[in-house]
């Protein structure tokens, strides 16, 4: 118990330091937040441009697509804030400084995750939250007990799934130091796919982005449950309730990959 308190205290001290460091240069910090805010707004603009041309896309109306967009963006920015900095791992590996982490009495993954928090992602999170508010209104969704549970599960599992994708990508860096794009294809492709209705995909890609890379569980399937929409081929409506299961499996795979990666790693000497 005392150990846990010490650890939490250490984490808090570290995060406070990171927060102070990130906000020290005001103008740079402001442009950073503004940057991620604009990322969110631009993605919203993409949705708008497509719906400017068609009344429905992938079985969703514009209002329904806004809910999907909101859930996807909230989960993505939370995951990015918490573990997005894992993408610095290749730099540590190349510089050989990863060795120092191995010597400390805490698992490598825990050290890396708790080493930073990216406050600038608040910009994009803001876009997600505001869109969520609007989507609740125009879809006429009330705060019933069921809906609170659905939204809570969606955000928790969605964040966990995207975070697991980041961990997978990072774990593979132990094997492919200079080929991070090989994993980007599935990880960022999966993240990109998760922001769209899974129904836009032809069947083989539906299987890929639902049952292999669990992108559909991040936002599309929870949206179907929340808005009481009908299911589609390969995507039954009840699957939305399985998001926590998908998150658990994703983390299982991520941790196995991470373990294989850390064991594969051999120090750079020196």
């Amino acid at each position: 118990m005392a150990d846990l308190r010490t650890d939490l205290h250490a984490y808090r001290t570290l995060l406070t330091a990171r927060v102070r460091a990130q906000t020290a240069y005001r103008v740079s910090f402001a442009t950073d937040v503004l940057g991620t805010l604009l990322v969110g707004l631009t993605e919203l603009a993409e949705v708008y441009v497509i719906f400017h041309n068609v009344p429905r896309l992938g079985g969703l109306t514009f209002a329904e697509a806004l809910m999907l967009f909101a859930l996807a963006n909230i989960s993505y920015s939370l995951a990015d804030m918490l573990v997005g900095h894992l993408d610095t791992l290749p730099a540590f590996i190349r510089a050989g400084t990863v060795d120092a982490f191995y010597l400390r009495p805490l698992p490598l993954l825990a050290q890396l995750i708790t080493s930073d928090i990216s406050l600038r992602r608040f910009g994009r999170l803001g876009v997600g939250l505001v869109t969520f508010g609007i989507a609740l209104r125009i879809n006429e969704i009330g705060w019933s007990g069921r809906n609170v549970v659905v939204v809570g599960l969606a955000v928790l599992s969605g964040t966990a799934i995207v975070a697991a994708l980041f961990v997978c990508a990072s774990a593979l860096q132990f094997f492919l130091v200079d080929a991070s794009e090989l994993t980007n294809g599935l990880v960022y492709g999966g993240a990109y796919a998760s922001q769209n209705s899974t129904q836009v995909f032809p069947n083989p890609l539906r299987v890929l982005f639902t049952y292999v890379v669990p992108a559909a569980f991040v936002a599309y399937l929870p949206t179907v449950v929340l808005l009481d929409l009908p299911g589609a081929t390969l995507l039954p409506a009840w699957l939305g309730w399985c998001s926590p299961l998908a998150a658990a499996v994703a983390w299982g795979v991520a941790l196995l990959l991470w373990r294989a990666g850390t064991r594969h790693y051999q120090g750079a000497g020196g």
Binding site: S28, T31, G35, V39, V49, G58, R120, E181, Y192
Partner: protein
């Protein structure tokens, strides 16, 4: 004498361009990885556009299924060459002070980096562009330019697209002279350029007001313009106006870069000896 100096500069430019080409061809696995990513994103983008066309039940802004698919695969082929993914090499050198070394060289830094960037673009056109378009052509069908004359002009248009993109990226990088951390500016630029260039949805699908906004920026000239020529959407009649607009943007972007280089040179302070 003057003629000789000019010839020497062209020689240096050529050497730097070849160095840029070789630098990016060293990482074979990375290049292959990029191709895989390109293909996955191409599949997702094609799915979205085709689903939209199916929902519309008709063409959108003149795009049929075949044209939408051509648009996606030509653009996946061009995206790496045009460099819509962001680039911070010069920024990093300004921050570290290494830019002073570039200033000490006999060749203007903007020209030197342009040479390297053209080399990089050529390598990525061969290593990522051609295979991406080939994958698209093989599995989805990709339409070609309207005749050999347009094809030749399309190549010029791609080249101009790369030059415009380089000019803008270089200018954005130079904001580092005035900002401690210009990551925010870089991010805004990357996102705005991708969207307004037509990386996610063709510019022709934009509502009228957004189309006007896009046309007031150099972004459609980097990307949508060469794709219109490559995919056969624009013919010989439209080619010359397209190239004219591109030339104007290229000149403007390079001029802005020159101006910022000169201003930045005055504010640069490098410590140590």
């Amino acid at each position: 004498m003057r003629g000789q100096g000019w010839r020497r500069d062209v020689g240096v430019f050529w050497v730097l361009a070849r160095a840029g080409f070789r630098r990016y061809s060293t990482y074979r696995l990375a290049t292959f990885a990029g191709l895989v990513t390109n293909t996955v994103f191409g599949l997702i983008r094609a799915s979205i556009l085709l689903a939209a066309l199916a929902a519309a039940g008709t063409t959108i802004a003149g795009y049929s299924d075949a044209q939408a698919s051509s648009y996606v695969w030509w653009s996946q082929g061009l995206v790496a060459s045009v460099g819509l993914f962001g680039w911070s090499e010069v920024s990093d050198r300004v921050r570290s002070g290494d830019i002073a070394v570039d200033f000490a060289r006999p060749l203007d830094p903007q020209v030197a980096y342009l040479a390297g960037d053209l080399g990089r673009a050529a390598l990525q056109a061969l290593a990522r562009g051609v295979p991406s378009v080939a994958v698209g052509a093989l599995f989805f069908g990709v339409s070609a330019p309207q005749g050999p004359a347009v094809a030749a002009l399309a190549v010029v248009s791609v080249l101009l697209g790369v030059v415009i993109s380089f000019g803008c990226r270089y200018a954005v990088n130079l904001t580092s002279f005035w900002l401690v951390q210009n990551r925010g500016v870089q991010l805004v630029y990357m996102v705005a350029s991708g969207f307004l260039a037509g990386l996610f949805v063709p510019v022709h699908w934009f509502p009228d007001w957004l189309l006007v906004v896009a046309r007031c920026t150099p972004f459609p000239s980097m990307f949508q313009a060469p794709i219109d020529l490559l995919s056969g959407r624009a013919g010989l009649g439209e080619a010359l106006p397209i190239l004219g607009v591109q030339l104007a943007w290229a000149a403007g972007a390079l001029a802005l870069g020159q101006l910022l280089t000169r201003r930045g040179r005055r504010v640069l302070e490098v410590q140590g000896g």
